[in-house]
């Protein structure tokens, strides 16, 4: 490990309603692989975005190569030698690998693009990284893993000194991860500073020199990898004071009937042989880190995405669910993660959104019974305490929390017995959060059955009767609330150190 190349001091950044970074520290040495860990929403990505100029910090200092710097966009950071390999690939599928790597800075001979030179230079890059990829291959023909390697090669072709990897292994196979590590070791040997953002414990142990943990936007601490254990890291990741009392005991009787049974569900890489049961009146928490496959599982159960195999039983009877239409017909409602994109039709009114799932019930003859519709909408506006001047208000004008209430209202108007809430309180202020928790509890006590997908530990522990934990497409654990702790959950949500 060489001398320090990067130091971030007292970085502070706030967005409306959320203090994303609270006096965070981070430093990086040359020839080091430094892991940046934390739960979803801990602030890792935000910190890197501040570093590379995508966000501007509110206060704090960034010292790079001994000088204080401030980057205003990624181009500036890139020119200075700081490059980030994003999680979402930015590749042009119809062009070849070489053409993608050098897009925007092609080698020219006159007006002709010198593709041959680009292929040669690409080969050199790949040799340097010990990757076997054919530079003349069309990008869209490569697996996601290989495309990521190209993204890395592209980053390195920029003569950089610091590389940031943002969750690089999420889409890679075992072999590809090994290749990735070989590349990273090479880069380390070439005296580059490498920041490795990941939540995978085993990888951290294998490839990194130091680990910095963030939690809820704050800096928790830095450990030397070879001197620490998984437990140490987990404790740092979750060691918050829980100011909300976790649910002490579930009120759901042990012999409550099973309303939903999912058996050996397979839907691509993110849902591998998942099985679970949901009892009447219970809130089943789905915990796990980003990319665990919880949303994908829910969508497969709901028929929103195709599945390869698996059986679904409702109240003991096997049902065929191949589309959301089927699912809704069987009484399942799904509140998606991104409510603005998938939950509500923002340019329409509250009333129109409320009856969208069961419009047939509001038809008299061939006409929509608008009075009845409005009445239903207003009933739930009152019940859910939605802040709006009237039921005719367009959803786009409501706050996040109230928009979420409209989505909930939609499924209540339909009278679904099984509700899947995917990140129900994301982006919602504390006051509205509590209202939604109260509502969920009331629904459960009225006999509805709820699956709650959440990345917030507080939420999981406060609301769930039982908890299912997923990790990388597989169900890794199931806990009753009485025996659940943050550590146990996080342990199952992260891969084991081999």
């Amino acid at each position: 490990m060489g001398e320090e190349i990067l130091r971030m001091e007292e970085i502070d950044k706030s967005f409306p309603g959320v203090h994303a970074l609270d006096h965070v520290h981070f430093n990086l040495n040359r020839g080091e692989v430094h892991a940046l860990m934390g739960e979803n929403g801990a602030g890792k990505s935000t910190l890197m975005k501040v570093l590379t100029g995508i966000y501007s910090k509110d206060s704090g200092k960034i010292i790079y190569e001994g000088k204080e710097v401030e980057f205003h966009n990624t181009r500036e950071a890139q020119d200075a030698g700081i490059v980030i390999v994003h999680q979402e690939l930015n590749m042009v599928g119809d062009l070849t690998v070489a053409q993608n790597i050098f897009i925007g800075r092609e080698f020219m001979s006159g007006i002709k693009i010198n593709d041959r030179k680009m292929v040669e230079e690409s080969k050199k890059l790949f040799d340097r990284l010990h990757i076997e990829i054919n530079p003349t291959e069309k990008m869209s023909n490569l697996t996601v893993g290989k495309q990521q390697m190209c993204e890395i090669a592209k980053a390195i072709s920029h003569e950089c000194k610091v590389i940031i990897f943002d969750e690089p292994s999420a889409a890679l196979t075992e072999k590809e991860i090994d290749d990735l590590f070989t590349i990273i070791r090479d880069l380390r040997e070439q005296n580059m500073g490498i920041i490795y953002i990941s939540h995978r414990m085993d990888e951290i142990k294998v490839i990194t020199d130091r680990v910095t943990v963030m939690r809820d936007g704050t800096y928790v601490g830095t450990l030397i990898t070879k001197d620490c254990t998984k437990d140490d890291i987990v404790k740092m990741m979750v060691g918050r004071v829980i100011y909300e009392q976790p649910k002490e005991k579930s009120l759901v009787p042990d012999d409550a009937p099973v309303v939903l049974k999912v058996d050996h569900l397979n839907a691509g890489k993110m849902v591998q042989d998942v099985s679970f049961e949901l009892h009447k009146g219970e809130i089943l928490g789905f915990s796990g880190l980003m990319g665990a496959g919880r949303t994908e599982t829910a969508r497969a159960v709901f028929g929103a995405d195709p599945k390869q195999s698996g059986d679904i039983y409702i109240n003991g009877k096997k049902v065929e669910i191949n589309s959301p239409e089927d699912a809704v017909h069987h009484g399942i409602g799904y509140l998606s993660e991104d409510r603005k994109r998938y939950g509500v039709v923002v340019q329409k009114s509250i009333t129109e959104n409320s009856t969208l799932a069961c419009l047939d019930d509001y038809i008299s003859g061939i006409f929509i019974n608008k009075a009845k519709e409005k009445e239903a909408a207003e009933t739930y506006i009152k019940e859910l305490d939605t802040k709006t001047p009237s039921a005719d208000q367009l959803v786009v004008n409501l706050s996040g929390g109230n928009q979420q209430k409209i989505v909930i209202a939609k499924w209540l108007v339909k009278n679904c017995d099984i509700l899947i809430f995917d990140e129900p309180t994301r982006g919602i202020d504390v006051g509205a959060k509590n209202e939604i928790y109260k509502l969920m509890n009331r629904l459960a006590s009225e006999g509805k059955s709820i699956i709650m997908i959440s990345s917030e530990m507080q939420e999981i522990l406060r609301m769930s009767d039982r908890i299912v934990i997923m990790c990388e497409g597989k169900k890794t654990g199931e806990l009753k609330i009485e025996e659940a702790t943050q550590e146990k959950i996080m342990d199952k949500a992260t891969r084991d150190i081999k």
């Binding site: 709901f302 929103a304 589309s323 959301p324 239409e325 699912a327 809704v328 017909h329 799904y334 998606s336 994109r341 998938y342 939950g343 509500v344 039709v345 923002v346 340019q347 329409k348 129109e352 969208l356 799932a357 419009l359 047939d360 038809i363 061939i366 006409f367 929509i368 608008k370 786009v396 939609k410 339909k414």
Partner: protein, 323 residues
């Protein structure tokens, strides 16, 4: 100005529509002043004649644009309907009533064809339109052996169908058009079809995830359009008698212009039948005025093209603001 905008009357009718009505009235006044003899029933009749068939075309395409799609095969399809059913009447001697039904049926079939490809096969609407347009032209040509077809005059056998336009001097067509528009407005605003069409035009995925069979309703929008195109064909021949194969393109643009001018958004989800009606009147009046001015039809084409660009750009800007 703000007070005017927020007054109850304006809110009910819609600010855009009031502006449009204003434009319409202004245009009429200008034409009456600038053109000798414009004021009077003959030009009014000329305008109305244009309104009838164009109006139904516009109404039809409103449903399609409301889903965020497009259909510019409507002109040639309209002609295809009139040609095929007219040929059957003239050469196969089917009764007029059957010819009328056949006319609408052909429109319905094209609507199903277009809608099926767009909804179930995800073919981009503009490609379906292009292909449909030429298939309509070709089929019509082949069917009538490239002849143009004249529908019977009022006094001839079967000429009773002309009463949809005029009963004596009474403009029956206007009544029927307004009734048709009213029915469309009811369908769009008060029935399941309309609700689903508008919602899926605004956010198709959210509607799908609410358990709605979006493919079915998307296709239906094109079917409704097809039916209205068939009806438009009847009004066209009731007014202008003769239809030729390989024609009809210009009416596409005018119909879309009337629709877009009236406030229907190209992005989908927002549609106004009332606006479409006023838009159609504006286009028809424009065409009549330009003809009376002795200017070529070409001027009207250019103006219509510019109007659509302006209207759609205004919509683009409005959408950016809404976000």
């Amino acid at each position: 100005m703000e007070k005017f905008k927020n007054s109850a009357f304006v809110k009910k009718v819609g600010f855009n529509r009031i502006v449009l009505i204003g434009v319409l009235i202004l245009m009429y006044v200008i034409f009456c002043v600038a053109i000798k003899g414009f004021l009077g029933s003959s030009h009014l009749m000329g305008t109305l004649n244009y309104v009838y068939f164009l109006g139904f075309l516009s109404l039809g395409v409103t449903f399609v644009i409301a889903t965020g799609g497009i259909d510019f095969s409507i002109g040639p399809v309209m002609f295809c309907c009139a040609l095929i059913s007219g040929y059957c009447f003239g050469t196969y001697h089917v009764p007029m009533a059957v010819a009328v039904i056949l006319c609408i049926l052909v429109g319905l079939l094209f609507g199903m064809f277009n809608g099926y490809l767009v909804a179930y096969w995800d073919v981009p609407p503009f490609i379906v339109s292009m292909a449909s347009m030429n298939i309509a032209k070709g089929v019509a040509s082949i069917f009538t052996k490239t002849q143009s077809i004249s529908w019977p005059r009022a006094e001839e056998a079967g000429g009773w169908f002309r009463s949809i336009v005029k009963v004596g001097e009474f403009p029956m067509g206007l009544i029927l058009f307004l009734v048709g528009a009213a029915i469309c407005a009811v369908i769009l605003n008060n029935t399941r079809i309309g609700r689903y069409i508008l919602c899926l035009g605004s956010n198709k995925e959210a509607v799908r995830l609410s358990g709605v069979n979006v493919k079915k309703w998307l296709m239906l929008a094109y079917v409704i359009c097809g039916i209205l195109v068939g009806i438009a064909a009847l009004f066209f021949v009731a007014t202008y008698t003769t239809v030729q194969p390989n024609y009809g393109d210009q009416y596409n643009n005018e119909a879309i212009a009337g629709c877009v001018m009236g406030g229907t958004s190209m992005a989908g989800g927002l549609a106004s039948i009332g606006g479409t009606v006023i838009g159609v009147f504006i286009i028809a009046l424009l065409q009549e005025g330009i003809l009376a001015l002795g200017l070529a039809k070409d001027v009207q084409l250019i103006i219509t093209g510019v109007i659509v660009i302006v209207a759609v750009y205004a919509d683009v800007l409005a959408r950016r603001r809404r976000k």
